[in-house]
Amino acid sequence: MATEASQARAGEPVLGAYEVFAQTSERGAMEWQASLLAGSPAMALMLARENFLRRREIFDLWVVPREAIARAGGADEWFRLPKTYREVSDYQYLVGKWRQYHQQAMTPDTMA
């Protein structure tokens, strides 16, 4: 996303916004870390490393031009539909049932 000021000066680098993602565990997923302005992906990678990831061990780093990101936006009703029938929590009652059946199975008079 170039600012008008930066475009106005001929020969100056055009700065764009990049979103920074890092993988902080070897098996883990990419996670958002920061946003920054840079003139190129290579510069964005360097700035990301120097500005935001000086301490943590990381396994990989992504910089993504912000205009490359398609956003759904939080206003979408779909995100908040009731979906508990898809969740393990709807089946918690089974834990108690299994305990009861295991105990029954272990009492001598039902062992036959």
Binding site: E26, R27, A29, Y85, D90, Y91, L94, W98, H102, A105
Partner: protein, 314 residues
Amino acid sequence: MNPDGEARTQEFLERLDGGHLVEADDWMPDAYRAELVRLIRLHAVSEIMGTLPEKEWVPRAPTLYRKLALMAKVQDEAGHGQLLIRVAEDLMAPRGENREHIMEDLFAGRQKFHNVFHLPVPTWADAGLIGWLVDGAAIITQGMLLGGSYAPYTRALRRIVEEEAFHIQHGESICMALAEGTAGQRAMFQEALTRWWPALMMFFGPPEDGAALSHQAATLRFRIRSKTNEELRQRYLSKYVPRIRSLGFIIPDPTLQQDPDTKAWTYQQPDWQQWRAIIANHGPRSAARLNLRRTSYAEGQWVRDVMAATRKAV
């Protein structure tokens, strides 16, 4: 293999032994790539073909709640197929192959899928049993694969295993309801169990002395898997036999028993010849399910075309 490649492979194996993980664009020996592609394609296509037996029961589920949960599960399985096909495609790209090759191979009978998805699902108890005991078997394999050396596969598996936890509970819940139901419902479950037991024993593949030895040894050496077929089957028996028996159902294998000291199970070997025939698409529902997949792939072509279009037609 040239001496250079051999040294490189040796170094690669040492890195694996040191606990290092492999990413999609890292160098890897051809044999490592080939084993991964074979395994992940089998897994992906099994997820996709696995939607077909259960979806037969979506219109006939006994309550609206069960229908919603079963649809959610079927939808998850299709999603697992999608996740895995992407992982496979990245590995297949250097050979100039993509998902269409996987589908073509499936339709031509060159791509196998798990034995359990070639079988009929005649009753609601069969549908419940798949959720409980087939997904229960799958999660034992997938849980083991989570620790594998190819990181992109393990990342996809982590998401998959999370959803599988719901599948198993959903299946357990159906089976528990039948177990606590009428005599007719209990009999329905018992019949389903009798029907499915040999297929469940086949699920993990033959024991080590079988024909699968070479792939098993290779995937173990490459640290893609960490347990043998038989180790997985033993774990499965330890987990599920007590549960099935605690509900008062009979496992149709009079020889099935656990050694009290070693905890090892002895069991009736299923007919491995039959297993080979089933996964070679000679199972009772193989042809019908492949036809359905072929038809829906052909009828869905226009959807894929629309989704791939980058410009408006008018």
